[in-house]
Amino acid sequence: MPTRLWNLLCNLKLAIWLASVATVLTMAGSIVMIKYPKTFGSIDQMILADWFARFGQARPGLSWWLWLVAGAVLLLGLNTLCCFFDWLLRIRARWRKSGEYLIHLGFILCLGAFVWGSLAGSRSEGNAIRVGESLPLAGLLPGHALRLDTFEPVFVGGQFSDMRSTLTLLRDGRELRTEVIRLNHPLTEGDLIVLPATFAQEAEGFRCDSPQGSIELRPGSVLRLPDGRVLRVLRFFADVRRGGDGRIYPVGDEVNNPAFELELLHPQDGPWRGWYLLREGLPAPLTAAGIQLQPREPLLRAISVLTINRDPGAELAKIGGILMGLGVALALLSFYAKRRRGDRPELD
């Protein structure tokens, strides 16, 4: 019985049947994927286990084929593994097939790596980080954080071309390494991979003309006036509305109705604090103090938006890929050698 089972598991016809079943099921499934983008549209944004938990289980009528594909491919993997071991047992007689069986081993490793990554990995998109800020990676890599040191969108001929983020990976506050990431050049650390996804800009203040010249006002800016008074910028919002109670409420990130919260300090008088809505003009206490400001343009700062994934199977997949590459090279060599010898499958 064990021999029969082993022979079945090593059976070439079984491999062809399983490959055919997986092919046909995947073909059919791909049509379902196209027809139901709401269910399958986010399948690449999360690992397969999470997708099954969120979407697959909720729509069993649409996801059943994936179970069957998984079953067929896993059985094919088992069949391939058994064939590989069967070859190993007879390697002295069949060493010329090394290339073909390296492809088998590479496929098994890639399949294992995919299963591992699909169960134990994680994917996280839309991680916005500003220059100087740190982003804790608690859910992905406990004790680690990413700090964005610099960010530079690259434009060539006025067209967006690339984005360069200088990222420092920190562990318990200590710097592990710093790397510049850009398209096709991610930061990797173990099974963690950090990629630039996109970027955004947000207004952090305003450039204004004043009798002292052009000045940049952003939270923390200090303007020293000739009479000893000091104007401090406390806060800036790109878009605000004045509520019925007279208070100022931020409403969005688009520069629409920008406002500064300012503080005017005087050596003798008490401080004044209030809001300067740029569309409304300077508040009376500031004009009375002789302050003149003419808003010119918003001061923009970039936000790098990162994709942060973890794939514990990636290294295994890399080994699998290398083995497959070596396998096809060896198989190619042995193919031509065999052709020279006239050694090929029997004819009809």
Partner: protein, 267 residues
């Protein structure tokens, strides 16, 4: 190289392939070895012209310019001509490659009316992995196209039994070789694509329709590489599988690229 010169040279290549097709047809009818020799020279000239255009465009662009429908049709046609020449020089298949030449005329004919202007490379394609992925993919496709042609010819020869075409054992041998070489190249294409996907997207297998169908193509031909060891599938079965497989390839390349939204758009 200006778009106008590109069009002129590619039109000349098209004329060369058309001439070669006619010469091979003449060879089939009159059995003059000189005609087959002339056809070989003509095909070689067409490939030389296409290679010149390809290299000039590559140098001018600074990257392998295979990023839209024109350039993929052109590159596929180039790969197919190179693949045909490989079989012709190795096995002297002569008019056996007529189907491939017809297919090549279709591909190049479809490319010619399109705009050959080279567009600036988008940053995500700016990696050697793109070049390797593209070359392996299209040369692999070319071998699958060759296998398709040989499969059709095998079935024809089985029915006609004519001495115009090679004997069935040779056709079968050529078909198996085309499938094997196509599978080897397509495997490399998948490996380079997976590495690229990992550094570009953070995962090495995508459920995008193009990636799924590329996996289907790989699985199908992997199955074919095994099927040649099963007597029942040798010869006729293999010929039918070669034809079906090329249908899958065409859908993966053109069907998805033109009809569906994917991460491999053609235009």
């Amino acid at each position: 190289m200006s778009p106008a010169l590109t069009t002129v040279l590619l039109s000349a290549a098209f004329a060369a392939y058309l001439g070669a097709t006619l010469l091979y047809l003449g060879h089939l009818k009159w059995r003059r070895p000189g005609l087959a020799q002339a056809a070989l020279v003509t095909v070689s000239s067409g490939l030389a012209l296409q290679t010149t255009v390809l290299l000039a465009r590559w140098l001018a662009a600074g990257y392998l310019p295979v990023t839209n429908l024109f350039s993929t049709l052109f590159f596929f046609s180039w790969a197919l001509a190179a693949c045909y020449l490989y079989f012709e020089l190795r096995y002297r298949i002569r008019a056996t490659g007529l189907f491939v030449l017809f297919l090549n005329l279709l591909l190049l004919g479809a490319a010619l009316p399109r705009d050959p202007a080279i567009k600036p490379l988008i940053a995500s394609l700016d990696t050697p992995l793109f070049t390797l992925h593209i070359i392996c993919s299209f040369v692999g496709y070319a071998f699958f196209a060759m296998a398709f042609s040989l499969g059709v010819l095998y079935l024809l020869q089985q029915r006609l039994g004519t001495d115009l075409f090679p004997e069935l054992p040779l056709l079968r041998k050529l078909n198996e070789e085309a499938i094997f070489l196509g599978f080897v190249l397509f495997t490399l294409c998948m490996i380079f694509g997976a590495i690229w996907a990992f550094v570009a997207w953070g995962y090495w297998f995508s459920w995008n329709i193009k990636s799924v169908w590329s996996f289907i193509v790989w699985l199908f031909y992997a199955g074919m590489c095994h099927a040649k060891f099963i007597k029942r599938w040798q010869g006729t079965g293999y010929a039918w599988l070669s034809i079906a497989g090329f249908g899958v390839v065409l859908f993966t390349y053109l069907g998805i690229g033109l009809l569906l939204s994917s991460n491999h758009p053609l235009d």
